[in-house]
Each structure stands twice: as C-alpha cells, then as structure tokens.
Symmetry: D2
Subunit: 140 residues, 4 copies
C-alpha cells in the first residue's frame, strides 16, 4: 500500500476550528500524484503530451475532525481498473486512528477534453501495483 | 427547489485550464449556507450557540469541465432527514446543461464535537421545505 | 472609480474566526479581472493569444477583520502606467468603513514567460480610464 | 536564518500553468508558523490563551514563476521588533535561485480583537533569535 505523509496547515482550518472539508480533497490529490510519481507516470510529463486525468467522481467519508499542524498519513490503493477508467481508494490516518476514507474515479482525456484509453505505461504500472498488493496480502 | 448563482474565479482554475475539482466543494458549501439562510437558520447564528454542522460524507459526480469566469447555478434540495442527520442533493448547471451532481450528509455537534439531535427550528424548516417541494412536484 | 462587490465565504475563514488574509488576495484578483472585463480586455481573450499578466508585486494593509457572509465592495483604480508595467490600487470597504488597502504591480509576458510591452488596446484602455478618473476628480 | 522546505501542489497552479500568486502567501504563513514552533511559541498554544497574531501588512515581490511539484525553501528572519509589533522578512529559493521576497508585519490581539503587547515569552524569543542572527553574521 502506498503511504503519503501530510502536515495540515493553519490556512486549511475554518471558523469552527477544524480543518475544512475541502482540504481533504487537496490531500487526496497530493497522495494520488505522489503515487503516480512512484509509478514513473508523473502528471506533468503526461500533461506535456496533452494527456489529462480529470476526476470523474469523488466520495469522502469524514470520520474524525482534524486540527491545524497535525501530521497524518494517507494510504492509497487501486480499487478497479478498466481500459478507460481507474478508481483509487484512500484512507487518512492520525497514527492508527482512521480519520477519513475516500474513493476517486478517473479517466483520461486529450487536449480537447475528449476521453481516451488509459495510456499503456499507466495501465501496465497499475497492473503491476495490483500484483504487488495482491502479493502483500498473500504474505500477511 | 432552491437555486443559487455562482461565478467561477480565475484563482479556482488549475494548470489543465479548467476549474479545479476542489472548487466544486466550495460552491456546494456556499449553496448550502445560502439555503440555510433562506430557511432562517444561518450558520453563524448556530455557531454562536456552539452548534456546528460538519460534513459526514460527500459525493460529487463531475460531468463537464467548467472554465474561469463562467456563471453557473446550483440547485439544492433535501434528500433525507432523520432526528440526527440530513442529506442534501445538488445539481450544478451551465444554463440547461448539467455540469455536476452531488450529495452531502450532515450531522450536528456541540462545542466538544459530540453529536446532538438536529436543532428543532432546523428540523421544522426542513420539514416545511420538503412539503413545499412535494407541492411543487404535484403542481407539475 | 471601478467598484466590485464580494460576499465572503465560510470556507475563507480560519480557526481564529475571521477571513484568512490570503482571501483578500483572491478578492483583489477578482476585482482586477472585472475591471479588465469592463475595459473590454478580458484575461481569457488575452491568454488565448498567449499573453499573460502576472503579478510583479503585491502590498496589502489589513485594517479591520472581516467575517464570513459579509458583503464588501472593492474600489480599483490605476496608480501608474509605463510601456511595460502598470500598478493598480484598491480599497476594500464594509459600507463606508475601510477594511483594507492594497496595490498590485503587473507586467505582461508571452507564452515562454518573457516580458513584452503592454498590449496596445490595454494601454489605450488604461489611458482612457485615467482620463475619466481625472475628470471625476475635476467634477468634485 | 530559519529555513523551511515547501513542495508546491498541483492544486496551487492556475490556468496560466504556474503556481498562483496567492499560494506564496500560504507558504509564508507556513514558514512563519514553523519558526514560531521552533521558538517554542506555537500559534495553537497562544490561541488557546485567546491571543491571536493577525497580519497587519504584507508585501511580496514575485521574481520568478514556480511550477507544480517543485521543492523550494523559504528563509525567514526578524526585520524589526517593538513592544506591540514585529516584522518578518522572507526569501523563497529554488536551490540558489531567488523566486520571491516578502515581508509581513504582525501585532497581537485578544479575543475581542483589541491590540495587546507582544507576549513576554515571544518578545524574549525574538530578542534571542536576533542575537543569534547577529552572531551568524559576525561569523561570516
């Protein structure tokens, strides 16, 4: 499972004293982009080729409030994969306490925002990620 | 159905040229707070009484990209209501074209972030909203 | 003087209960872009021609706190103009009370971020704006 | 000189492809709060005592564009100090290249937003910081 550390910012709080719920969406994106980088499929290299990866849908379950200057980590894994879409799942943790869970569905589009197939190198990287995670599970 | 107009900001775009998906979450919140105000249950008056209304979960389906300086409107309605939770549904429109759909589930908590029942005046306002919407549907 | 209305958002507050100081920067940008639009020099039309208008420097003086759901207005005017740079000044008001003052300096760059002269139509629009404002002052 | 590392986020970009100028303000705040923490005067501990530290004014000079996923560092130092105000200066670097420079002026206020003297422990910490920096300079 891919793990990414985040430190919450003062600017991400709201007048109710907790991290605003929009900031979780930013954290998920950061974790996703770090996963992409680890898979050697950095978003900026893709976008230079006029390949974009928008969010198709997004679900977040907020389980506990977060406060400013907290260190949390986000685990990210592949939930499903087809020729044109992939879905990631995420969990946000304060140490071993679960703070939130989420999924995001994505597709790929070209420069005119028309859907295209998942680029070959990304599909391959996801397949390998899946295999590694299946392996991790077998080892447990 | 409650309708709220938004104008997208330059600052809300990303390097891919479209409004970043986090901004939709902000638009939904603005629409929700305007609905609360229309129901005479403004969030600031509630928070002064140490009653807070966090997001329990959030789902957004992104159907079309949005660009900077676009005028869109958001319709908001009540999807479900219990003694402790309520769920709203939203649709975002560019004229008659649907841009996105969403739901948010909410509860109420006190100043120590402990769940409390939906405050009486809000429950009543929601019930009346529901009745009005049922009436609207009957008239169609 | 160009006047633009803003309504502060809940999401723009921080844990200290007031609008976070970064949000003022967003308000100024919105006011500036609305001024550009009024001058028939909308930013999106410029950017389509690969002309960009970055901020060179920014100064803000915060005089009073702002709270969520407040309606404020921003006045914007031209402070200085050369062949390659222009400076705007702003004041943010809650009714007649001044909340903040600011200036922003800007230049124009091409798609490779190299400085270019102020585009002719913008220079002309600014000159005319200046003349109108001088006229306004004479009439006082 | 206090040094703080930042990694720019995709979400902080704008449609012109560079990090939006508001994000620099967030980076400065993060650097400032980390400095406070290093001085044993964390903002959250202060706010629990109903002592707040608003921005009085802010100046930023943007020298070079920043892009997504860049690692930059921010140096922060004390520019001036009185019984009621302090001013910090900042520089943002990509390796040895200077990206931007800034200053922020701050005061302290109580829970009703009335100005108060700089709390004793912070004044002392700043004096010591100044002495250390003077020492650093002497050693050069």
């Amino acid at each position: 499972m891919f793990r990414h550390r985040i430190k919450t910012r003062y600017q991400e709080t709201g007048q109710d004293g907790i991290i605003h719920h929009t900031s979780y969406v930013v954290y998920l994106e950061e974790a996703r982009h770090e996963l992409f980088r680890k898979l050697n499929c950095g978003i900026n290299a893709l976008e230079k080729k006029q390949i974009f990866c928008p969010v198709v849908d997004l679900f977040i379950k907020y389980k506990k409030p977060l406060y400013s200057f907290e260190e949390v980590f986000i685990t990210t894994g592949l939930k499903s994969l087809s020729k044109v879409r992939f879905e990631l799942f995420y969990a946000i943790y304060r140490e071993s306490e679960i703070i939130g869970e989420a999924t995001t569905m994505h597709c790929f589009v070209n420069g005119r925002f028309k859907p295209i197939a998942i680029p070959g190198e990304i599909y391959k990287a996801f397949m390998q990620l899946n295999a590694e995670e299946a392996g991790e599970l077998l080892l447990k």
